[in-house]
């Protein structure tokens, strides 16, 4: 590892050799509104025929200033903003943010709350990977996959709606718990979904895995070596596709992940096909986790009852007791009371490690909240991988990196 990374640009500039480009090179701007850039990514490319010479991603078209906003509101008020980071897996983002703040407060939530969070995060992972898979198929010309995967995702969204009241922007967690317990009979319906989903998933994956056209488009394309993947800070299926076994659910278990048995799939070559296989297998493993969570679903509280200054009391108590009313008022106006200090927490989200670095000076508002978004880090390898590839492979590569611009630009 005793290597220094040289950047061709700076080396050329230092040598005074300003590169002037041969007239036949073409500069092409792809995006920000382009179907294969999955949102508003813009690629400023330089082409030699069909070969990419240089690729410079231009970000920021979806920048909302979430970190600035976070500094100006209470922790619970920020939960809806986390929905809009990786908007394909809002439940997983909610959970990551809640755990980060709870770590700062030194608060441990009850086992039932942890189980609910793991369950919803794994359902969110399945839903995010389904969308990723469908969009990837679409990018390489396999239209049917999208129809199949959106069909399954719809069933998941119905379950989300029943649990949280919203299909998409769930805002399900609060600091110290979740907004509501699971509804009557809901767990049974999740199991029913799993029973239907497992054969449907195999059917969907069978459309691609041994598909000659799909393999021609993806095998050996966009290879990311193990060393590069680590050096560029890739996480999630993109890192595992390159053969690095790093899954924070296994390596630094949070929210009770250590109780569940699951395997971490890793790729061998690090090409687009490996990343696709990893995502497919991760969905199978997620269903495995969902079944285990439901099988030993703990009884008890679904929020931290002893966290008086953090989690608002239940509604019936607020309406009948003066003290609880005052407590509720304080939590709503001043925010959950979090001690001074700093914490960095990363959760294994569908796209990779979603990290929250929170610096608190005490009180209900963070002093600084940094969102380490996996899509941002995963995209940073693009200039490196794109150089020298065909322009049609860029589309495949973007699909296989499976990024979300809402999270990348924040």
């Amino acid at each position: 590892m005793a290597t220094e990374f040289a950047f061709p640009d700076s080396a050329a500039k230092a040598a005074g050799a300003e590169q002037d480009f041969a007239p036949e090179k073409m500069s092409l701007s792809m995006g920000p509104s382009h179907p294969s850039t999955h949102g508003v990514l813009r690629l400023q490319m330089e082409l030699d025929g069909e070969i990419l010479v240089k690729c410079d991603p231009v970000l920021g078209y979806l920048h909302r200033g979430d970190e600035k906003i976070a500094e100006n509101m209470t922790y619970n008020q920020f939960v809806p903003y986390t929905d809009r980071l990786d908007y394909l897996a809002p439940l997983a983002n909610n959970m990551a943010f809640a755990i980060a703040v709870e770590r700062l407060a030194g608060l441990e939530v009850p086992a039932r709350c942890q189980a609910i969070r793991v369950l919803t995060a794994e359902m969110a992972r399945v839903s995010a990977h389904l969308m990723g898979l469908g969009a990837f198929g679409l990018d390489v010309g396999a239209w049917t996959v999208l129809v199949h995967s959106l069909n399954q995702r719809e069933h998941l969204y119905k379950l989300f709606e029943e649990l949280t009241g919203a299909r998409f922007t769930t805002s399900y967690t609060r600091i110290g718990g979740v907004t509501r317990d699971v509804p009557e009979g809901w767990l049974g319906r999740v199991i029913e979904f799993c029973d239907r989903f497992e054969p449907a998933l195999e059917e969907t994956l069978a459309l691609l895995t041994r598909n000659k056209i799909f393999q021609d488009r993806t095998v050996g394309v966009g290879i990311i070596s193990k060393e590069d993947a680590i050096a560029y800070g890739l996480t999630g299926p993109n890192l595992r596709g390159s053969g690095v076994s790093l899954d924070l659910r296994k390596d630094k278990p949070y929210s009770g992940y250590e109780q569940y048995e699951f395997d971490v799939p890793i790729g061998s070559k690090g090409d687009c096909y490996d990343r696709y296989l990893c995502r497919g297998e991760e969905m199978r493993q997620s269903v495995r986790i969902i079944r285990q969570v439901i099988a030993k679903f703990p009884r008890g509280d679904w929020y931290a009852k002893d966290a008086r200054k953090i989690f608002a009391p239940p509604k019936d108590k607020i309406l009948t007791s003066m003290e609880e009313l005052i407590n509720n008022f304080m939590i709503v106006t001043e925010g959950p009371q979090i001690p001074a200090g700093e914490v960095y927490f990363e959760a294994e989200n569908p796209k990779g490690a979603l990290g929250f670095y929170i610096v608190s000076k005490g009180g209900g508002v963070p002093w600084r909240l940094k969102i380490r978004s996996p899509s941002f880090c995963n995209l940073s390898i693009l200039p490196k991988v794109c150089a020298g590839t065909m322009i049609s492979d860029v589309v495949t590569l973007l699909g296989s990196l499976d990024f979300v611009m809402g999270e990348c630009d924040r």
Binding site: M1, A2, E4, F5, A6, F7, D9, S10, L59, G60, H63, G65, E67, K68, I69, N72, M73, T74, Q77, R103, L104, G106, I230, A231, Y232, G233, V244, L246, D251, K252, T333, E334, G335, G341, E342, V343, Y344, F345, E346, A353, G355, Y357, V359, K361, G362, G363, G364, V365, W367, R368, K370, R372, F376, C377, L379, S380, I381, K384, D409, R410
Partner: protein, 209 residues
């Protein structure tokens, strides 16, 4: 966790100028600005911290010393240890500097560009220190504490369009939200979430505009 503690004691034995940093999760150290690259290289090559999870900065508000702190989060893909390294930025408030670590981790490239964009921190020897989230030519660093939440009116990035349309990027109207709570010691009425600048809104223009 023990792997991180071992790594911290090893690095502290090697560099006497490193001090412990109060932390609630992983072990953390403060490193003087001049030694940051050497310390991080040692951590990478000898401590096994091969993954740069995150690189960011904190603004401690005007008048604080140091005003800006750069924070690095390192992770080891082998021992699964994590540590935090922080260093103060030196120089004027308008251009605080810290050495770049792009040559150690290419991952730092975009992170440093983001910190430059948001705080105006100059990462020395960075090969390509451009804005990344805001557009080129944007005059402010929005995550600095003195920058208002509503934003500041600026010219459109495309000057031709701006000339044609006479339009500019206007600040966000704060009437009706976002409802902003305030940190720190104050009475309940002041801490209550409310729109802070109610002197203008969508219907009545900003007084000096």
């Amino acid at each position: 966790m023990s792997a991180s503690v071992d790594a911290i004691s090893a690095i502290k034995a090697k560099f006497s100028q490193i001090t412990d940093r109060p932390s609630r999760d992983c072990p953390a150290v403060d490193v003087p600005n001049a030694d940051i690259v050497t310390v991080l290289r040692t951590l990478r090559d000898e401590g096994g911290f091969d993954l740069l999870s995150d690189l960011t900065a904190i603004d401690w508000a005007e008048g604080a010393s140091p005003r800006f702190t750069a924070v690095y989060h390192l992770y080891s893909t082998v021992s699964h240890a994590a540590i935090r390294v922080a260093t103060p930025c030196i120089g004027e408030d308008s251009a605080p500097t810290v050495p770049s670590v792009v040559t150690l981790w290419p991952a730092a490239n975009w992170h440093e560009r983001e910190a430059f964009d948001m705080f105006g921190i100059k990462f020395e020897t960075h090969p390509d220190l451009r804005r990344i989230l805001m557009w080129d030519g944007y005059p402010y660093h929005p995550l600095r504490k003195e920058f208002p939440l509503a934003g500041i009116e600026t010219a459109l990035p495309d000057l031709e369009v701006a000339e044609e349309t006479k339009a500019k990027v206007i600040a966000a109207p704060m009437m009706g939200g976002p409802f902003v709570a305030s940190a720190g010691e104050m009475n309940l009425t002041e801490a209550e979430p409310r729109a802070k600048d109610e002197s203008w809104n969508e219907r009545s223009a900003k007084p000096d505009a």
